[in-house]
Each structure stands twice: as C-alpha cells, then as structure tokens.
C-alpha cells in the first residue's frame, strides 16, 4: 500500500488463505493501523474482494487498495466453469461454437472489470512452480522468488520491485 500498488492478491495452493478469509482481513486491517496510524488508515481504504461475491462496480479511488484472496479453485476450475457456461449457452441455442474466442473467455474470467492481470508474482518458498495459480491470467506475469514469507523485510520487497522495474517486455515484437 505504501508503495502505491493498487491490487494485491494472495494465494496458497492448499486454499488455507481462502478458508480463513476473515481472519486474514482482520490481520491486514490491524497491521495497517499499526503502520499508518488511525488517520492514515482512514485515508487509505482497503477493499477485500471475496471471489464470487464481488460488490457493485466501484470507482477506484486514488488511495484505494484492493486485496484479493485466491486459491487453486480460482485457476483451472474457474476456466472449466466458464467453459460449461459457454457450452450451456450453445445447448440453449443462445450462442454458437464459432462465437467462442479468447476475448469472450477472457471477459468471463475477469474477477471484476477493473482488476488487471497480475504484473508481478512474488513467490515465497523453495518450490519452483506456479502450483496452479491463475493459469489464464499469468501469461505476461513476471515471477520473482523470495526464500520465505516469514520475516520478509521491506528491503526484500523493494529489491524485488527494482528487479521488476528492470524487466523489459517486448510483447512478441
């Protein structure tokens, strides 16, 4: 939040964060107050997306952060559900197979209209894999590994961001 990152998602491949969603929210709010003080916290509001129960489209204020809690079900399972939805539409003659393309599928997989694809993944832990994290959304995501999330320091985060800043994407060109 201090660095100005608008969208943060957290993921673990056992779905622990998802199951303990409210506890995570409470902890984040508590730490925000500790770091920024009561006034600072009021100026910087945090919205928690609770996958599937997304609230109405809101204006993204300049100081607002959006925290998303993800699990493996948000990966392949979501894609399969979108596929089922499209196939049901075909079954009911509302669509034809020719109507299905990347854009159509992408709009079904958007968490909300404003949440962008992850630009950067900070991966904690020794396992060199995405472990099922949002396969559709990570096509251009940069992956930076940090050894552990336990006692991670601001310096660690900052140097990861510096590394990210030096990445040059050619986007095929």
């Amino acid at each position: 939040m201090a660095v100005g990152i608008s969208y943060v998602s957290v993921y673990d491949n056992h779905g622990v964060f998802r199951r303990n969603n409210s506890r995570l929210m409470d902890e984040i709010l508590k730490q925000q107050q500790e770091l920024l003080g009561l006034e600072g916290s009021k100026q910087h509001s945090v919205e928690f997306l609770n996958n599937g129960t997304d609230k109405q489209d809101h204006q993204v204020l300049s100081c607002q952060s959006v925290v998303n809690v993800l699990s493996p079900d948000d990966g392949k399972l979501r894609i399969v559900q979108a596929a089922q939805q499209l196939c049901r539409a075909v079954e009911q003659m509302e669509k034809t197979s020719k109507d299905i393309n990347v854009t159509v599928l992408d709009s079904l997989l958007r968490e909300s209209k404003s949440t962008p694809d992850p630009d950067l993944v900070l991966k904690f832990g020794p396992v060199e894999s995405t472990l099922g994290f949002l396969p559709w959304h990570i096509r251009l995501t940069e992956f930076i590994s940090l050894p552990s999330h336990v006692d991670v320091s601001y310096e660690d985060l900052f140097s990861a961001l510096q590394h990210y800043a030096s990445c040059e994407q050619r986007l095929g060109k």
Binding site: S97, G132, E142, F143, C167
Partner: protein, 311 residues
C-alpha cells in the same frame, strides 16, 4: 529424470546483437542449438520435448523478420521430409501445435506432410509450438467442446478439467515435467499455461544459441530437487479433480431422476446403479466425441497433404 521437457528458446536476437551478426543468423543458430539440445535430451533418456518456436504475438514483428522466420521454418520442414528414413529409424514423431491456418499455405502444407509422415512413430516426440499462444489453445479447446455440444456428441454437463485437457493441441502428450526459459526473462509469455501448472519452472540467464549441456543438467537438477513437493501437489490436485467429477456425476444423476423419475425415492442400491450407469454413458459420450475431434484434426492435415501433392 524428467520424461517431458519444454523450452522457451529465448535470446536469438540478443545473441545476434552481441555477435554483431544479422538477426536471421541469430535465428539460424538458434535452430542449430535446438537440434543439438534434442540430441542431448535423447542421450539423457528424455523422450518428449516441446518448444516455443513462434508465438501468435510474433506476427507483430516487422514483415522482413516474420517472412524470414516463415522461410526458415519452411526450409527446416522440407529438410525434415528429406530425413524421413532417419526419422523412421529413430521413431521420431513430430507434432506442430498452434493455429496453422494463420500461416502461409505452403508452410501449412510442409508442416502437414512432416506431421502425417511421422504420425505413427513412437520412440520420441518433438512438439513444435508454431502460431501458438496458450490462451488461443484454451479458447480453441472450449470451442471444440462447444462444437461437440452442437453436434449432439456431448452435453454441457460433460465438460470437465480432464475433458478440456483432452481438447488442447497437446492432448497426446503428458504435461511437461520441466519448463526451461533462457535469456533471463522470468515470465511464461503465454506458453503452455494450462499444462505447466505443476511443472518445475527454471529460468536461466544464458541466451538460447549459447545453451550448453551443463545448462541442461543444471535445470534437470532443479527438477530433481523439486520432485517430491511437486509430485505431492499434483497428486492432491488429481484427488480434487476426482472428487469434483464424482460430485458432478451425482448432480447429473439427481437431475436425471428429477426429470425422468416417477417421483418415488430410490433406495441406496438403485441410486448406486443409476450413478454407475450415468458415469458409464458419460464416458462413452466423451470417447465418441474425442474420436470425432481426432478425426477432424487428422482430416485437416491429410487434406493439406493432398493439396500439396496436387500442387
């Protein structure tokens, strides 16, 4: 040891700049390095390799560079056909994954001939992603399932993670154990996003044309170090999939009984029978659909080869 390794062969152009040669020369050296790497893989008993040769995004490059790459590809596929005896001897099966209709027709025909000629070989497999992105591949798989629904071959309730996997261009291959990207970039660039969800990812800073046997060994070592946690994660995921399929089948049976039943509740044994029947019919539908899909794909390629023969 990994059985299937995927490569993002990145760095040809940076190599060319470094050596102060033409870009095209960088790509040619990149191709030579691919041939060399394939030999190393075979020596290490790695029998399946998938490479990212040309992305749909690469069409954005200058016309000269794209034409150059198309011409290079054409030459290489023609050369492959000259090597047919050798390919047969070593049992090399070549597959090309991507939307071939985006390529010049003559290249499509050469590709089709190489793929058809090596179709039955089964000792080692080279999958070349050409005119490919993962999102296009996934969208295409969904479109194929929708086609299956249109043809009356499957129902929308038959759609599952397993079925989607079977509709990808890579359906005849197991998922890669190891994905290696060279040149220091640390992203996936729309390559095999579905298939590599539980693969070991290794990012190496060496430029592709400079790739060495030791770089390959280093990557394999990473694979070995990650083997157990990845195996565990894969097994967990598979268990989850099985549970989901059971639940979906149960819901399907409940739905069926609601619509066709006579209102009387079934006893446990009859319910179990109904579930087994439902699962069996679903599996049969899916097999027929996959057969039709394979036939569609085979015909597309054979049509191209007969065009090439007439030309």
């Amino acid at each position: 040891m990994p059985k299937h390794v995927a490569f993002i062969m990145d760095g040809n152009r940076r190599y060319a700049r470094k050596r102060q040669v033409e870009r095209q020369e960088g790509h040619t050296q990149g191709f030579d390095k691919l041939a060399e790497t394939l030999r190393w893989c075979l020596n290490l008993n790695i029998h399946e390799v998938t490479v990212y040769a040309f992305s749909i995004e690469n069409f954005k490059r200058s016309k000269d560079e794209v034409d150059g790459l198309m011409e290079l590809a054409k030459q290489k596929f023609i050369r492959l056909l000259d090597e047919q005896e050798n390919l047969k001897k070593h049992g090399v099966c070549i597959r090309v994954l991507g939307d071939l209709t985006l390529l010049p027709l003559d290249l499509q025909q050469h590709i089709a001939r190489a793929v058809v000629a090596t179709r039955t070989h089964n000792k080692c497999f080279l999958n070349v992603c050409f005119a490919y992105t993962s999102r296009h591949e996934i969208a295409n798989a969904v479109r194929e399932m929708a086609w299956g629904v249109e043809q009356g071959l499957i129902k929308s309730s038959d759609v599952s993670e397993a079925l989607l996997s079977q509709c990808l261009y890579s359906s005849n291959s197991p998922n890669p154990d190891l994905l290696i990207r060279t040149s220091g970039e640390v992203r996936l660039s729309d390559f095999l996003l579905w298939q590599t969800s539980h693969s070991c990812l290794v990012f190496q800073s060496v430029l592709w044309p400079e790739y060495s046997f030791w770089n390959l060994c280093d990557a394999i070592l990473q694979y070995q170090l990650n083997y157990r946690p990845l195996q565990k994660a894969r097994d967990q995921h598979r268990e989850g999939q099985t549970l989901q399929q059971h639940e979906a089948d149960r819901a399907g049976v409940a739905d069926l009984l609601q619509h066709h039943g006579n209102g009387k509740p079934l006893d446990a044994q009859k319910r179990q029978e109904a579930l087994l029947n439902y699962t069996a019919s679903r599996e049969e539908r899916v097999q027929d659909f996959l057969g039709a899909l394979q036939h569609k794909r085979d015909s597309f390629l054979t049509d191209l080869t007969s065009q090439a023969a007439l030309a």
